[in-house]
Symmetry: C2
Amino acid sequence: MQEALRQYQDTNKKLKGLGLAMFLHGWDSSTEAPRDAMTYRATQLGALSEMMYRLATDPAYEAAIETLYVHRVELDATLAHEIIKARKELVKTKQIPVEEFVAYNELMTTIYPVYVEAKQTSNYALYEPELAKVVAFKKKVLQWQKSPERQGYDIFLDDFEPGFSKAEYDWFFNTLKERLVPFAKAVAKKKLKYNRGFLKQKFPVDKQKEFAEYLRDVFGFDKNKTVIKESEHPFTTNNGTSDVRITTHYHENDPVSAIFSTIHEMGHGLYELQVDPALDQTMSGGGASMAMHESQSRMMENMIGRSRVFWETHYPKLKSLFPKQLGKTTVDDWIKHVNRVAKSFIRTEADELTYSLHIMVRYELEKAIFANKQPFETLKAAWDKLYKKYLGVVVTSDKEGILQDVHWSGGSFGYFPTYALGTAYAAQIYHAMEKDLNVEDVIRGGSLRPITDWLKTHIHRYGASKDPKDILKLATGEDFNPQYFVDYLIQKYTKIYEL
Amino acid sequence: MQEALRQYQDTNKKLKGLGLAMFLHGWDSSTEAPRDAMTYRATQLGALSEMMYRLATDPAYEAAIETLYVHRVELDATLAHEIIKARKELVKTKQIPVEEFVAYNELMTTIYPVYVEAKQTSNYALYEPELAKVVAFKKKVLQWQKSPERQGYDIFLDDFEPGFSKAEYDWFFNTLKERLVPFAKAVAKKKLKYNRGFLKQKFPVDKQKEFAEYLRDVFGFDKNKTVIKESEHPFTTNNGTSDVRITTHYHENDPVSAIFSTIHEMGHGLYELQVDPALDQTMSGGGASMAMHESQSRMMENMIGRSRVFWETHYPKLKSLFPKQLGKTTVDDWIKHVNRVAKSFIRTEADELTYSLHIMVRYELEKAIFANKQPFETLKAAWDKLYKKYLGVVVTSDKEGILQDVHWSGGSFGYFPTYALGTAYAAQIYHAMEKDLNVEDVIRGGSLRPITDWLKTHIHRYGASKDPKDILKLATGEDFNPQYFVDYLIQKYTKIYEL
């Protein structure tokens, strides 16, 4: 077993070394690499990917994982958890026939340009046959990977959020259907009244950057361990716990976009920063799951960043940076503006209230596809129908409809529901945090340190050393419960919309 | 032989993949990585270095090089040249006993902090015993590596500039001693008269950046393949021919510094940009040698960038960016300022005329050390004496004397002379270029494209596929000749100083 452990750690060390290259490449290529840089870099990335693949599929490495799996009760808890996950992945990968895996990887490289063209020309018909191939392969995967423990779509759900299945998600989305869909429709009938004059103003980027730096201090996003930069689409990336980077995108006509994308990405970033640094030396660093990560970004962005008390505290600073532009805008105007609800087609532009309804559409479609209840040829019609039903909008173009997301073209089924689940985690966690802290008082005090400290103790420090279900239970004292989320939204928007 | 070629190329592909990681790490850590990023990254870099070392010393790789070396006449010229160089390196590495190599590497990690402390406290005595160890090891290396072809200090000179030995360098430095030392002393007696008023002005960094972008266009430093950023010390780095990056450092009180460091680094960068892109797929990319690289940066910085015609052409643009600051400064004032000669202690701050004399001090000391003619205990006294003799200055502190350069602490003996040799190459190349082009007319025309095209055709495109001696001969039609350099300096400074 000692030899197996040595082999396991030795390979991981190399994989983590190569991971540095991938981290730096990703950051560089999204933020500043010159246009032609990829000409030569592509062959280097190919060589690195091949090295990673060979290391990860080295029979000696796999044998070491098997040996450690057999001896898992003798290992410390973190390592045992890691080995169980690694072995699960190993088994699942081996269940896919090699020639099918190769063919699928080829499909993955050819489908993307087709997807892009279809989206640009808003022509789903072009993309449909390619998507059909992905779905056909994914259905085969479910056959290969089925086990007494888990079958069908549950396999994909578990891939993205370990331990979660249709049972939990159905409960969650049914709760939304019952309580949130009618509520959102009621909200949509009302119109918020506020002074919109500032929407015609210009907000110079250097002043917006100054406010981003101010927010960095408010959220305690440690300058010695972080970078804030610009990119086309905002994102967070990190290399361990001591190098965490986010990007934002400034629009001169709209200061709101950069403010909330900065806060959102800082939410992700704070999670990575506050993982126990000892886990950097293991394979259990980083966030516990997709939804847990999203819970942290959305709590910061929406529950804290869009709260009344947050802007009562920080609007004066914003106004001091833009005295002319915000001269006639009161803090009430501002709060209404950043919390307005609008009927929308596009998930990524949706407001806090309706966002999870966009996800529900995708969840229902994916579930039906893999239960063989959704004929592939009527998928687009089904999409449009659900948008009408849950969001009250009539989709008029594929680009703003079924072609809006890239996920399916990458074979990522089971991914979407984690976005909504994360926002529901956030409400449950926030509710638990309020038992220990007066959250509004903390926000009013300026520094969010007591909040981020609480999150560190109850969520962040565990990294990926525990399953998200276990972390949620430790942090909140109960299993997942979607009521907190719906309660929070209804309470908040009843107030804002004076229902 | 086919199998050897496959093995050779396969290992190189991996080494180049890992090279991407090192490129990105170097760039990132010098320009924007947060302070604490190295905490975790250090172990990853350790893993990557070990992977590189294992690949480079893999017996199968070494055997492939030996096989290809035996068959070198059957290979194409570029590959044959590459294999001869690789095999030479292999032989030299193997001549050093492994245990001595390991001990030396340990010394290399411990000496650096001692050097830094000694420099900070200006205390050579602290550093002297460590430097003695380096010199002792280096003397042993000369014993291990001596061959009928090359002995003594010539071995180190050849390491940094293949094909160059004391014969060429002695001729070079003797020419400087005879003609340049007395000339520089004559210049030092005169004082340039010009309006220095602008030295008290502030030059906002954003306007300096605008001028750097203007220079980028003048030199044709292609935006699609390059990045210009800031760092503590300016440098150039690249990943193949399609991703070339330079840094500069802006000082609000002094616009001259950033202008010439930008031009200097663009000179290095243009070389890398113009190497034949086909060489990206070989081990013969990049510049031919240290001195050849320096010839390109110094030609751009000094011969072109500090010329009268360059500023007659571009000073109006600079003045338009700083109308208040340069209001009373004429183009003549400016040209005098950027070409003034000053007695100095510090090599990196030296002017064009005296720079090579700083190098001569180091060359003479190194040559004497490895000829066993320079007792180690009087090294510092010898340094100070040569500064008095060639530069006419009395060194009063170790920090500004023998401790100013980091090179010896890294074991780099034989490196310094390439800096001066490069400036001499530049003059010889410029002289050859003038036979094909009216260089001043080109500069006056704005775009330097005809000049960079000429350099591409005659120097850059070869990359490292030929030895610098061969490239110099191809480009200029003759072997190295230091007279061009001295003629150029004497002619230029006779005019400026009205001697």
